[in-house]
Structure formats: C-alpha cells, structure tokens
C-alpha cells in the first residue's frame, strides 16, 4: 500500500499546479458548463479555464473511460494530459486498453475515492442541499441518499489498482480540504516531485486516519451489494422472471451506446443478421400465435451480456440512460460478476490479465464436459 501524503493544496490549487509546474497540455475533469446548470466531462488546456473544473462533482454524464477512448483511440496525445477518473471509470479504461480501444501513452491518470454519483438527471450544480448532504455523508463514511443504486452497492470505490498514477483519498475528509494523495507509479512520483510534494522519506503521512470511514462505508455497501444481487437473482428465478425483467424494454439500445465497454461500431444486434425476412416473422408468429415486436428484445440483453458481461465494471451508465427505468446496471453488475467468477476474472484489475475468452487453461477441458 502506498503511503498517503498530505499535499497541503486544495483541488483547484492542485489543478493549477499541474499546469504550472508540470508541462501538462491539458486536464480533463468534470466541469461546470458555461450554459445551463449541468456539469460535463471537459478537457481544458489552460489554467484559467480549468478553474471551472469540479472533478468530484457527483454525476456521470459520460463514463470518462469512453471519453478517454475517444480521445486516444486514433492517436495518443503528444504531450501529457491529466485525466480524472472515478475507480469504475479507471477499471473500464483498463478493459478498453486491453482491447486496444484506448492508449495510455502520455496520460496522467488521477483517481479518487468515489462516494457514488447521482442519476445525472437528478443533480445539478445549483442543487446545493443535495451536494451538502453528499459531502456530509462522504465525510462520515456513509452512503448519501439518492445516489444510483449500483453506486450505493459498489465496494470497489477506493482506487486500489495500480493503474492510477495519482490517487486522492477523499472518504472521511471534505473535498475542499487540502488533498491527501498517494503516488503509486513512477509517473505519479515524478509529478509529485514536480509539484514540490515531499515524498514519504521526508514523511508527511496522512494526518487523519481514513480507514474507519472507509471501512464503515465498505461495510454498508457490502451489505447493499449482497441485497442488490439477491434482489436481481430472485428477479431472474425462471424464464418468466427473464421476461418481466425486460418487459418494458423499448429496444432503444441506449444502454449499449453509453456503455464504455460496448465499443462496437455497429452492435451485432442491430446488424443484418437480426433483420429477418418477412416470412420468418410469420412463421415465428405462427409458432406462438402472437409475436411481440421488435423481436430479439431479450436476446439483445442476454447477448450483450455475453459480449461484455465479463468486462462489466458496473459503472451504472446504462441504467442512467434507460428511458424506461429498467435496472440494467444492477442486472449487469449481478450477472456480470457471476460470469466473471467462472473465469476467476476481475475486470480492470490488471492490464496484463488476458480477457477470459482469449485465453484458456489446459486443464479445464476435461472438467467441463457434462
């Protein structure tokens, strides 16, 4: 475990310092939009405009990993860009890097303890009361009322994985206090040096022990996670459960579009293959007496799970985007983790861990035939 250091600077000072003391071409973080009352993930290239950034704002209008992918897929930046990512976004990014949809060259990844986010429709910058209760809950290591159900049940809210260059410890503190940070990677350590932060050999270890707050939040969430999974599993008790779970789906496929892992250009389920000849509709209808349209509605979800369930980081975007309030993310989190368990795979854990379907172990062949 990396040592946490009190940096003695606030978040805005920190961002300014990145521009000043380290040759950084840009910083990407959540920021106030010039128009409207919403925040968006924004890339800044100068200190001044970056003042608008509010990296810890509890909303996720886009999964930042998707933004990073868009940003780096074609070509990585030639100068360093610092990017703020929530732990789940960081995990998603790792998965995307594995499938070559994002590059990490010249990126300085900054992550932080995540208290969860509100459904983006339900939070705006002016909503001070909500934000205050969020900060309070954060400080006390509690879940804030009203955050997304998957966030409330997320136990991986501390960016433990080593992909982040800088990790900011937040839980048990207030976001505008001086930052307590660790620098797990070489790149992070260099940044710390550039910013003039003393590294542990001269010791400024964390003044407040955050562990109790983290632990209490972890416990609460663990409990929630268990309940959430149970709820979903009961929902899928049988074929009838499967039907009712996706009953409302209008086949808009928004969930796949906002999903960071669903990187395909054309979703297989939108392809020609699933456009049938007219006779096929007649025959299918004849089989059951009636045919609900569009067809393959359930298959889309089941099939999408088969494509990305192993990499699902449970970021919750899909559920936010669903216009008919299907608990997509809760479903994918639950079932995705079941599938991941089969291959002993944790998405986003390690860049060098091969995707389960692209590898195999020699011994498993005998065991599976049934």
């Amino acid at each position: 475990m990396e040592t946490f250091i009190n940096s003695r600077m606030t978040i805005s000072e920190f961002i300014a310092a990145i521009f000043d003391k380290r040759e950084t071409a840009g910083v990407a973080a959540m920021a106030k939009l010039p128009s409207g009352n919403k925040a968006a993930y924004t890339l800044f290239t100068d200190k001044k405009s970056a003042e608008n950034s509010i990296p810890f704002f509890p909303a996720m209008p886009v999964n930042a990993a998707k933004a990073v992918s868009k940003f780096t897929r074609q070509a990585s930046p030639s100068k360093e860009v610092a990017m703020f990512l929530r732990p789940c976004e960081l995990r998603a990014l790792t998965e995307l890097v594995k499938i070559k949809q994002a590059g990490l060259d010249n990126l300085l990844l900054i992550s932080f303890d995540c208290g969860g986010v509100f459904p983006f429709k339900e939070i705006s910058i002016s909503d001070e009361e909500k934000l205050k209760s969020y900060v309070d809950a954060f400080k006390n290591g509690k879940n804030c009322e009203g955050i997304r159900p998957v966030c409330a049940a997320c136990t991986k809210f501390v960016p433990k994985e080593n992909q982040a260059d800088i990790v900011i410890s937040l839980i048990g503190r207030k976001p505008h206090d001086p930052l307590v940070m660790s620098f797990p990677t070489e790149k992070g350590k260099n940044t710390a040096k550039a910013l003039g932060i003393d590294l542990p050999d001269k010791t400024h270890t964390s003044p407040v022990a955050p562990s109790t707050a983290v632990e209490s939040l972890f416990k609460e969430r663990e409990e929630k996670e268990k309940k959430l999974k149970e709820k979903i599993k009961t929902g899928f008790a049988d074929t009838g459960g499967l039907v009712s779970m996706f009953d409302r789906c209008i086949s808009c496929h928004a969930c796949s579009y906002v999903c960071p892992i669903c990187y395909c250009k054309n979703c297989y389920f939108d392809s020609q293959t699933f456009e049938y000849f007219s006779e096929s509709y007649f025959i299918r209808m004849g089989e059951k007496g009636a045919l609900r349209l569009p067809v393959d509605r359930t298959l889309f979800h089941v099939g999408r799970l088969s494509h990305m369930g192993l990499s699902c980081v449970a970021c919750g975007m899909c559920e936010d985007a669903c216009p008919v309030n299907i608990p997509v993310s809760q479903i994918f989190k639950t079932i995705g983790s079941e599938a991941q368990a089969v291959f002993d795979y944790i998405p986003g854990k390690d860049l060098n861990e091969a995707l389960p379907l692209l590898t195999y172990s020699e011994s498993e062949l005998e065991t599976f035939e049934d």
Partner: protein, 378 residues
C-alpha cells in the same frame, strides 16, 4: 368520400371485431398492431394471427413505446410482407411508414394500412411512473370525443394531422361520440376489403365528422404555430440551444428510436468524425475547454439535416431521451422551416418525391431567394 360504413357499439370492441372478421374470412393473414401483455401492464407491438388477436391486441394504446413505422420496416424491409398483413397505425406512424416507403425501408406490398383519429399519447416516462390504470381510463374515454385527455405529450397537443387520412382504411372516431365508428375506405384496396365486412351495407354520412375534424384542425394549427414560435424563441441561437442541450449525454437514443433515422451506423459515430488526441487538444485550446464527448451540437444539427424533412413529429425521441430534452419539439421547429422551402409534407402522399431526390430547373435561377420560390413537383 362522404359516406362511411357505420359500426355501432364500443370502439375498442368494434375495431377488434372488424379486424378479426377480416382475418377470419382470409381477407388478411395477420395483423400488426399494438397490444398488451398478459398481465396487462405493458404496451408493445404485436404481430398476430386470429388466435393471438383476442389474447394480446389492444388497438388504442395510450403511449407510444416503439414507433409503429419501425415495426413495419422490420416486417417488410426484406422483400415485403410475405402475406397479407393489416397494420393498425397512429396517423404519425402512418406518415412515417409512407416516408420509409419512399426511403425503401418499408415495402408496402401485401400491407393494408389502417389508421384512426388519434387523441395523442401520454409521455412514456410519466405513464410508466404514474397511475397507469387511471391514465388508460382517461385515454379510453377520450376516444371518439372532442376533448383531449389531460397531460398529453407536447408534440401531440400541437399535432394538426390527427386523422388517419391516407390509409387504406380510416377509422373515424371524431364525431362518433363513442357510440360507434366509421370505416372509411381510403384506397381501392380499402374499398375491396370493406366489402368483405359483415356490416358492409350500413352506411352513415360523414358530414358531421368532417366538420368537427376541420374545426379541430384549425384550432390545433393555431396552437401549433404559437407554441412553436415561443419554443423557437427559447432555443434561438447556439447559447440557448446549448442550454437546452446541456444535459445531453450523447446516448444517441433519439436517433435510435427515430423511425426515420434508419441508418445502421450513424454517420456521427463513424470514424470520419473521430480525430486524434492532439487535434482534440487544439480544439479545446480554441474553445477554452472541450466537452467530452465532443460534437454534441453537431450530432443534433447534423441529424436535423438528415431527417428533419421527413420528421413526422411522432415524439418517440422525446419519450426515449433519458435527459428529458425536448428533442421532438426541437425537431418540429427545425422541420417547420425546412419544409417550407420545398413545400413538402412528410407522409402526405406516397408519390410525392423526397425533396432531395428531385429538382426543378427553374430553381437554379432563384438561388438567392429560396423562400420566395414555391417548390413544384416535377
């Protein structure tokens, strides 16, 4: 047409009986229409034969879960319907079907288009989270009356094309006072089919209906203009537009559910509009900050260029928007102007060519004043 077959009795039942009759005497083999699931708490589109009809059909849904024209496209895109299929559509869906037929995404072969006087629809999200039974009831009672149910979608409340004209068979509800309905043939095919119904001889004049329709249409048109005008004010200029769109999350859901956006891969998702990181940094530099994902406005504006001419104002996009952006209103406003240029009304007539696919030599001379020149058919 001044007369229609009059059928007495409750509308819902009557329409079902009529459809069933057509299926039973093999005038049609199947019907594509809205329905409900067994528990009755979910509206959807169904493809049914005579056995399935009783079980699942529900001809007048109070919401639009999926746009019917999309369903027709699914069914017929590849070589047309295999057998005779009746399709029961809202007027806006009917218009979309016509547009898609022009775009070759629908094949009208073997289709019998049936439409009706539409009272509008409730917003999907509010319907799903509200008291559905109450809303269902409100909707049903409004069928065939002149009063609109409370809480319709914005686009519905300003819709002036609310009758099923243009269909093979039009179901006349307005003016029937819920005592029954007219079956009005719109085409030769419709006429042929109607001859096969049981009540093929009980005609009743349409005079009363036509008057009411006319009146409602005038009233709606007025409301439409004023509403759109004021809305246009609110989104005028990129600043205002961006405020409206600020909560957009780039899910492109509006294009997914749009019946007219038939592209398999949206151009705005394509590699053509992707750039490298450095290019994006330069853009951020120019604009003092670049929203990620970028090109938000471009997507919406671009989409308008692609389909606003054919936009039938069905409201599906707005229903599907997870961020509650008034997408449909935005498009209706945009389309209002673009249509004027070409005097084009989407879904009006299957033979009316798409504006982009024809031209007129005269136009060239008047390039400086497009608004003054009336578009004429070639």
């Amino acid at each position: 047409m001044d007369k229609g077959i009059w059928i007495d009795g409750p509308v819902n039942k009557g329409v079902m009986k009529f459809l069933k009759g057509l299926l039973e005497n093999n005038a049609m083999d199947a019907v594509l229409m809205p329905g409900k699931n067994k528990t009755g708490d979910s509206n959807a589109w169904f493809f049914l034969d005579r056995d399935g009809l009783d079980e699942s059909a529900s001809p007048f849904p109070p919401v639009m879960t999926t746009q019917g024209a999309k369903m027709v496209s699914y069914l017929t895109k590849k070589n047309g319907s295999w057998k005779k299929t009746g399709v029961l559509l809202r007027p806006c869906e009917l218009r979309a079907v016509i547009e898609l037929a022009k775009l070759k995404q629908v094949d009208l072969t073997n289709l019998v288009l049936i439409s009706y006087d539409c009272p509008g629809a409730f917003p999907l999200k509010e319907y799903l989270s509200g008291n559905q039974q109450e809303l269902d009831m409100a909707f049903e009672t409004s069928l065939g009356t002149q009063t609109d149910p409370e809480g319709l979608r914005n686009v519905c409340s300003i819709c002036s094309n609310f009758t099923g004209s243009g269909a093979d068979i039009e179901i006349g509800l307005i003016g029937a006072d819920s005592k029954g309905f007219w079956l009005i043939p719109g085409t030769e095919q419709g006429e042929e089919l109607l001859k096969k119904t049981e009540e093929s001889n009980s005609f009743k004049s349409l005079e009363s209906r036509d008057k009411l329709v006319e009146a409602k249409s005038v009233q709606r048109k007025e409301k439409r203009e004023t509403t759109l005008d004021s809305f246009q004010q609110s989104v005028n200029g990129p600043e205002n537009l961006m405020t409206v769109l600020s909560s957009c999350i780039n899910c492109h859901n509006c294009s997914r559910v749009c019946p007219i956006c038939f592209c398999r891969e949206c151009y705005f998702d394509s590699r053509a509009l992707n750039s490298g990181a450095d290019e994006m940094l330069r853009r951020a530099d120019r604009k003092q900050g670049l929203r990620l994902l970028p090109d938000l406005l471009l997507f919406h504006m671009g989409r308008m260029t692609h389909m606003s001419i054919s936009c039938v104002s069905c409201g599906a996009c707005e229903d599907a928007c997870p961020a509650d952006i008034p997408v449909s209103m935005l498009f209706t406003v945009a389309a209002r102007d673009t249509r004027k240029i070409f005097d084009y009304e989407p879904g009006r007539d299957i033979d009316e060519a798409l504006p982009y696919s024809v031209f007129n030599f005269e136009e060239l001379k008047n390039f400086e004043a497009p608004y003054t020149r009336q578009y004429s058919k070639q």
